[in-house]
Symmetry: C3
Subunit: 158 residues, 3 copies
């Protein structure tokens, strides 16, 4: 995709792309091999702290869960862009997104939470952003995050 | 694989392929890129309602869990066939199946539940249906479903 | 990668590669297609029994969780090597590792548990072992295991 067109679209939507996640010791924010890119699990952070900590069905409201999923998707895009050399030029398609939602046993609205991510990707990337998706409820997530998002994308040659 | 041979095999097994899942707004039932197909998470539905709602180790029996996994795998095959143009002709191999089982903390028989999906795929597709698998217990699933299944497959050129 | 060099590295680290997991009826320990290898979910076993059964945040200590993740990663390498014809020669890169941690709702140290796997892969394989990662807490796992690990790798032509 044209990098500038996506940056323009972000401005149009009033969305700021967060800085790419800092590399950590034990694994990488994103690995590209051939035409596939695997983005590491993203939990929504804001100013260095976890956004809306807790579980859906308990302390975290549906709106907060949606917001966390949306933010995690943005971070995944940022990690992907950084790994692709600081540009979306090579991005061809978002293939798969898995949204893990920290949830009580009675929670049933995982799709609404995950839509925070899916709708954002479609808003920014159009057809390129439409993906296969899984949404499941988990008992807990790193740092008490309400959502963790994994993304796989198709990329063109370097 | 030969589409008619698989349809014949389904008749032989007395299995009806469910209609492909309706496309939803925010994501796609299946995305194909190159030689890979990613099927979105399937929860077993019957006549528009969730089959056997609840958790394993609680309201849902092992047999019901197996049935839900089997049905979810059938739905995944149906979504895949639809996306491949209404035929299994391009299907080369089921690569990976991940089975998320809504479970209490004490439940340990996730492999038996997941076998509902794995054995069905082998029955219908033979060697082509044998896959790598993950089976994990989760706190809750969309609409209160007992099982959600993700599938990745290898496909030939269009 | 050079198989002998990896075997030498294992000796140097004092690590014994466990025997490859026995094939089971319903699915395969590892499926290779094109340049991708999908390793089935590994739970840490020792002498035929589950290592450190239970949940993190409850009966299982952080050190035990790390140990289980490390062991599961070794088993995944063993399954991969066996499927690649008993050699690491064709292994090009570990792409993605997902670590499911059986956890209470209050547990937050999933990354530390998953580091048991990630650090081991880097120790043995160097840059080749560095991957994208997801780490999530789940309600329960097969046989009461504390950790289940899924791995995707890039492989060269046979």
């Amino acid at each position: 995709m044209n990098d500038q067109r996506i940056l323009d679209r972000l401005v149009e939507l009033g969305i700021e792309l967060p800085p790419p996640p800092a590399p950590v010791a034990a694994y990488l924010p994103c690995v590209v091999h051939g035409s596939l890119a695997f983005v590491a699990g993203q939990i929504a952070m804001s100013d260095g702290v976890v956004l809306h900590p807790g579980a859906l069905g308990d302390q975290v409201s549906l709106d907060e869960g949606v917001d966390a999923a949306r933010r995690a998707a943005l971070q995944a895009l940022s990690a992907l862009r950084e790994t692709l050399g600081g540009s979306f030029e090579r991005l061809e398609r978002i293939l798969q997104v898995t949204v893990f939602v920290a949830s009580t046993s009675g929670f049933v609205e995982h799709p609404k939470v995950a839509n925070g991510a899916s709708e954002l990707l479609a808003e920014i990337l159009g057809e390129t952003g439409r993906h296969a998706r899984g949404a499941v409820g988990v008992s807990s997530l790193p740092l008490g995050a309400p959502v963790e998002l994994l993304m796989t994308a198709a990329v063109g040659a370097a």
